[in-house]
C-alpha cells in the first residue's frame, strides 16, 4: 500500500526537447531506411539531405531549450554514464558522415550505422529518466527505436513513389515496421496500465491515439496497395499518404509523450506515522 499526492506533468522539458526526439528519430530512421531500401540518384540526395536537416533541427531545438547554450560543449563530458553525452558525441560524426555521403556514397553505410547508434542513444535518454514512470519503462527503448525507423520509412515512402523508386520488398518492410511498432506500443501500454496512476495513464492514453492512428491507418493502406489492383498514380498517392501518416503519427506520439504524458510518480508513504492511539 502506498499513499501520497498525485503525480503531475513534468515542466522541465517542453516541445523543444520533444523536437529533438522527433527530428532525431525521424532523421535517423530515414537515413537507415533509405540506405536499406537502396535509394538512388536524386532521391538518395534528397533523403539524405532531409535526414541531415531533421537531425540538425532536432539538435537546434534542444540547444534552444538548455539554460546555458554557450556551454553546450559541456554536454559531451560524461559519456561514461550519460546517454545524452553519448548522443552528443555521435552527432557530429553522424552529421559529418551523412553530409559527406552526399558526395561519396561509399560513406552512406557508415552514416546509417551512426544513425542507428544515435537513435538508440535517444531512446536510452528517455528511458534513463527515472523520475518519469512512463519513460523509464524498459520497453520505451524498443518503442522509440521502432517508431524512429518507422517514421523514417514513412518519409521514404512519402518521396520515393514520385521518383519511380520503392521496391515491393521495401513496401513490405514498411508494413512490417508498422506492425512491429504497433505491437511494441500495445505491449508498452499494457505494462504501463498496471503501474501508472489514473491521471498519468489517461495522458499516456491520449498520446497513444496518435500512435495507434499513425500505425494502423497506414498499415491498412499497405494492405490495400498489396491486395488491390490499382492504377500506378493511385498507388503512388496511397504510398505517399501512408508514409505521411506513419511519420506524423510517430511525431505526434513523441510530442505528447514528452509534453503531456511525462507525469512523475508523486510521493508515496509505505507507512503512515503512528501517533496517539494505536490503530
Amino acid at each position: 500500500m502506498s499513499y501520497g499526492p498525485n503525480p503531475w506533468q513534468q515542466q522541465n522539458w517542453d516541445a523543444r526537447a520533444a523536437g529533438n526526439f522527433i527530428g532525431g528519430g525521424a532523421g535517423c530512421g530515414l537515413l537507415l531506411f533509405a540506405t536499406l531500401a537502396g535509394a538512388g540518384g536524386t532521391l538518395r540526395l534528397l533523403l539524405i539531405g532531409a535526414a541531415v536537416l531533421l537531425v540538425g533541427a532536432g539538435l537546434l531545438c534542444v540547444w534552444a531549450e538548455i539554460g546555458r547554450p554557450w556551454r553546450a560543449v559541456n554536454v559531451m563530458f560524461n559519456p561514461h554514464t550519460s546517454w545524452m553525452s553519448r548522443e552528443a558525441l555521435l552527432a557530429p560524426l553522424l552529421l559529418g558522415s551523412a553530409a559527406a555521403s552526399l558526395w561519396w556514397p561509399a560513406l552512406q553505410p557508415l552514416a546509417a550505422l551512426l544513425a542507428a547508434g544515435f537513435l538508440y542513444c535517444q531512446a536510452r535518454i528517455l528511458q534513463a529518466a527515472k523520475g518519469i514512470p512512463a519513460w523509464r519503462e524498459p520497453l520505451t527503448v524498443p518503442l522509440l527505436v521502432a517508431t524512429g525507423v518507422t517514421e523514417g520509412a514513412g518519409l521514404y515512402w512519402l518521396a520515393a513513389p514520385w521518383f519511380g523508386q520503392g521496391s515491393q520488398g521495401a513496401w513490405l518492410a514498411f508494413g512490417l515496421l508498422l506492425l512491429l511498432r504497433f505491437a511494441i506500443g500495445a505491449r508498452w501500454y499494457r505494462r504501463l496500465a498496471t503501474q501508472l496512476r489514473p491521471a498519468a495513464l489517461s495522458a499516456v492514453n491520449q498520446a497513444g491515439h496518435g500512435y495507434n492512428g499513425g500505425s494502423l491507418l497506414p498499415l491498412a493502406v499497405v494492405l490495400v496497395v498489396l491486395a488491390a489492383p490499382l492504377p500506378p498514380i493511385a498507388v503512388a498517392v496511397l504510398q505517399a499518404l501512408a508514409g505521411a501518416l506513419a511519420a506524423a503519427g510517430g511525431a505526434l506520439f513523441k510530442l505528447l509523450l514528452v509534453t503531456r504524458a511525462g507525469f512523475n510518480q508523486g510521493f508515496a508513504l509505505p507507512h503512515i506515522p503512528v501517533r496517539g492511539v494505536r490503530r
Partner: protein, 226 residues
Amino acid sequence: MTRWTMVADLRRCVGCQTCTAACKHANATPPGVQWRRVLDMEFGEYPDVQRAFVPVGCQHCEDPPCMHVCPSTATKKRADGIVTIDYDLCIGCAYCAVACPYQARYKTDRASFAYGPSSDHERARHDEARLAVATKCTFCVDRIDSGLERGLTPGVDPEATPACVNACIAQALAFGDGDDPGSNVSRLLAENQSFRMHEELGTKPGFHYLWDRKDADDERPAEAAR
C-alpha cells in the same frame, strides 16, 4: 567513512514549514524554489482520516540517477554522500530534473524576487551563477565543511548543521553521520522503524523517514497488525 544522513520523524513533524523558511533564508532561493518542502498528505475517508507532514527535497541518494544522466559532470557525489552541482559546468538541460524521482531539482531561467523589484537583501544575495542551471538542496554543505574545519560535529553543533534541522521546532529533523553507530541519526534509526522514499527504485536515499517505534508491534491491536 562518513555518510551524511538526514532523518525526518513523521510522528513529530507538525507541518509548520519553518524548515522551508529557514532553507530559503540560508540559501537565498528565489520565489517558487523550495529546496526543503513539506508535503501535507491526507489519508483515509471520513471518519477514519489521518494527516501526515512529509519533509522532502534532495535525498542525496547513494546511487543518484541525476548524476548518472548528467551530461556535463556538473552533478557529482562526494565521498561523504552529499550530491553536489557545479553551477559553472551545468548547461541547464534539466535532464537531472526529469531523472530525479523526488522532484528535488529546480531550474530558474530568469531572476525573480518576492515582491517584483528586488529588495536590498535580495540584491545582495542574488547569484547569477544559479540562473538557468539546476539547483537543489545541498545539505548546507558549506556549513558542514566549515564546521568540520573548526572541529565541530554536524548534526550536533548548530553551526555545522543544515539550516532546516537547526530550525525545526519539533526536532522532527535530525542530521548526522549514518556510518557512525554512535551518531544521533544511527541511534534514531536503530530505535525506530523507518523507510526511504521510493525505495523500490534502488536509489538508496540518504534521507530516512521514521514512522513508529521498533518495539511497538507488541502494542498494536491484533486486527490492525494483520
